[in-house]
């Protein structure tokens, strides 16, 4: 009885994948913030960050028009031709076909869609799988799924993994991103454990992702670091390179650069590209572009020089 309790399941999993010290992680990531990135290295970092953005709109009020304008922004974030397009747009499944219509079939910008009853995941598996298939059929290149946090917290790890495997199958060739929703797992130990559960099911090049952006706490340097270290350990152990996507809460270029420094110093050069690292964000894009222009011209420009900038000045 004892050995079958959820608590014992957690104990076994933690023992297997190792624990995380909260204070130690916070100390480690505080060092990234003290890095001082200047000149050419700053420009490289900013442009690389632009190329890693999954430009996202996930609102009840999304319309085909809004999605069309998001796609245009993703293709051409600024008049400056040296600024790359973003990695992808990220939309609800019902918007995938509209995005595909705008982007066409021959495009550098991929279409990601949050399927599986995002953000709660609280729908029958059959429904969730149907949603994934529909999104892929409509032209989604990437599927962002949520894990079953209820099952995870109840210690039913096999159920969590089975569901990921089922979604993976429904994805076909589409890339899968597994959202752990870290704010609902609460501890760094649980985030590390959940990362391993997901990584053991998914394929090379698939992602683990911090959060939906729909809860109070999203991507932080701390949970990003825990997941990067899990990816590193999994890679050194199996040779399978899993990609990473922090999402939500990254609003400034400075933050984005700090996250990239974490990637550089934890996983190394092979992860410093948009097949292995993404930012799930929207407002960060204009700040990145603004900083790029500032590096080039030496002056900050008014927000109205940047398309889609909604903030006042």
């Amino acid at each position: 009885m004892l050995a079958r309790s959820p608590q014992a399941a957690f104990r076994r999993l933690f023992d297997e994948v190792g624990s995380v010290d909260h204070v130690g992680i916070e100390e480690r990531v505080a060092k990234y913030g003290t890095r001082s990135i200047k000149k050419a290295s700053k420009l490289w970092g900013l442009k690389t960050a632009v190329s890693m953005v999954d430009l996202t709109t996930l609102e009840g009020k999304d319309t085909p028009g809004k999605v069309a304008s998001l796609c245009q922004k993703a293709l051409r974030p600024h008049d400056d031709p040296s600024i790359p397009s973003t990695a992808a747009v990220c939309v609800y499944p019902s918007m995938v076909r509209h995005a595909r219509r705008v982007l066409g079939s021959d495009t550098a910008v991929r279409i990601a869609s949050v399927a599986t009853a995002f953000p709660s995941g609280q729908a029958p598996l059959k429904t969730r799988l149907a949603e994934v298939r529909a999104a892929v059929a409509d032209g989604a290149d990437e599927i962002d799924m949520v894990i079953n946090r209820g099952a995870f917290l109840a210690g039913e790890f096999a159920a969590v993994q089975d569901e990921i495997a089922a979604v993976l199958e429904a994805c076909g060739d589409a890339t899968l991103k597994v959202i752990l929703e870290v704010s609902e797992l609460e501890t760094y130990d649980a985030i590390r454990a959940a990362s391993f559960l997901a990584m053991r099911v998914i394929r090379e090049g698939d992602f683990i992702k911090t959060s939906t952006g729909k809860t109070s706490l999203n991507a932080t340097l701390g949970n990003n670091q825990v997941m990067l270290e899990a990816i590193r350990d999994h890679y050194l152990d199996t040779g399978i390179a899993i990609a990473m996507k922090p999402a939500g809460g990254i609003r400034t270029a400075k933050q984005a650069l700090t996250f990239l420094i974490a990637v550089k110093e934890t996983l190394g050069d092979a992860w410093l590209n948009n097949t292995r690292y993404r930012f799930g964000a929207s407002s960060v894009l204009n700040d990145l572009v603004r900083q790029i222009e500032k590096e080039k011209t030496g002056a900050y420009q008014a927000p109205y020089y940047f398309s889609e900038a909604a903030e006042s000045y």
Partner: protein, 502 residues
Amino acid sequence: MSTLVAEKKKPVARGGRPAPELIFGDLWEFDPAPESADPKLKARYDLFIDGKFVAPKSGKYFDTINPANEQKLAEIALASAADVDAAYAAAQRAFDTTWGKMPGRERAKYLYRIARLLQDRAREFAVAETLDGGKPVKESRDFDVPMAAAHFFYHAGWADKLDYVAPGRRVAPLGVVGQVIPWNFPLLMCAWKLAPALAMGNCVVLKPAETTSITALKLAEIFQDAGLPPGVVNFVTGAGEVGAAVMNHPTPAKVAFTGSTEVGKLIMRSLAGSDKKMTMELGGKAANIVFDDAPLDQAVEGIVNGIFFNQGHVCCAGSRLLVQESVADQVIAKLKNRIRVLRVGDPMDKNTDVGAINSREQLDRIRQLVDVGVREGGEMFQSACRLPTKGFYFRPTIFSGVSMSHRIAREEIFGPVLSILTFRTVDEAIEKANNTAYGLSAGVWTDKGARILKLSTELKAGVVWANTYNKFDPTSPFGGYKESGFGREGGRQGLLDYVKLS
């Protein structure tokens, strides 16, 4: 310089695929990010005696250089015995006429003022500290200067609470004290020594290390700005002979020394039979103990912080890693990957993690002991980083396969060199950790709270850190067991070494 030894054990390739490795290359090289604040250095620094900068009686000066590029920074006065006499006479006069009679709450005002002035000029001091000593500006900015200010603030708070230092007993200052400090934390050691002495009402003659006198003499400028009465603090500069003159002088009621065990023994020998009080903060060869249930990535971070902080020029550096056999390979592999991303180079660059070795002499000593380590059969790994061509630098270095009888496991290297030993049981870990002439500090890494408590009582070390390393605070007493010295600095315990109880 010792040659780089390739890792002997390469990970085994599986299924025909090459073993996975991380690439820490130059895809995203950081541009130089030099700290640009003006250190406001003078071309020549005189002695600071009786509140004034005065030329040494001998008229002699020596050069202080920047260890990062071997360029001369300034000339420092060379004190003679006559200057030391003058300094002690000024200190005695200040004690008799002003400082010793002043109510504690008045002394506190000066200390608060010193702390605030130091904060005001923090960047300037950080840059000066880095230029003169070679430590990364990141550390002088985020650790040395703020911690020095914190020591003045903390002890300012005690100055008007002498009645609570030892409840039920009367507390009085000792009088004049002589202090000699090392080159690894020039400003911080200065604050660490001066603040408790001043707060308790003593006057001081202090000798900074000869390679790092500048920030002490800049602190003297702050004393002038703060209006500290003349003679309360006097700085005499020079090398060992000056230190001996400060320690052996008949005036001081107490001497305090921080430095090597070798010199500490000399001082104790020369003062034997005198009625001087003494505190000694000497060398260390701390054990950083990692158990198999520890959070390994954070332990690795603590190991790095323990041995590469300030280029390993730390008396409490975690220079012996004791790691449980079952996780040794894993810890060493993680450690190597962590060391690969340490940035070694120009200390003035804000991204530098490991700066310059303090002096050529110290660099030679590190090289010599590392050569011994290689000859004794330790398996060496060094990071492959590029080093500047001028200046004193040493790559972060780890030795695995070290045993207790190796010299690199017993002698203090005082550089970025880690010796890794393994153990099997808790008792073996304690035995190995305590099997040293030193006993300044230790680290314990485990998820088990009870084990931490057990080790903190059984380890013969003045400080035991649990799941962290190299954490300091003015409220926390610091000091050693055995040949790491005696007496405590910081906290209430530290005050007791600067007062007469009756």
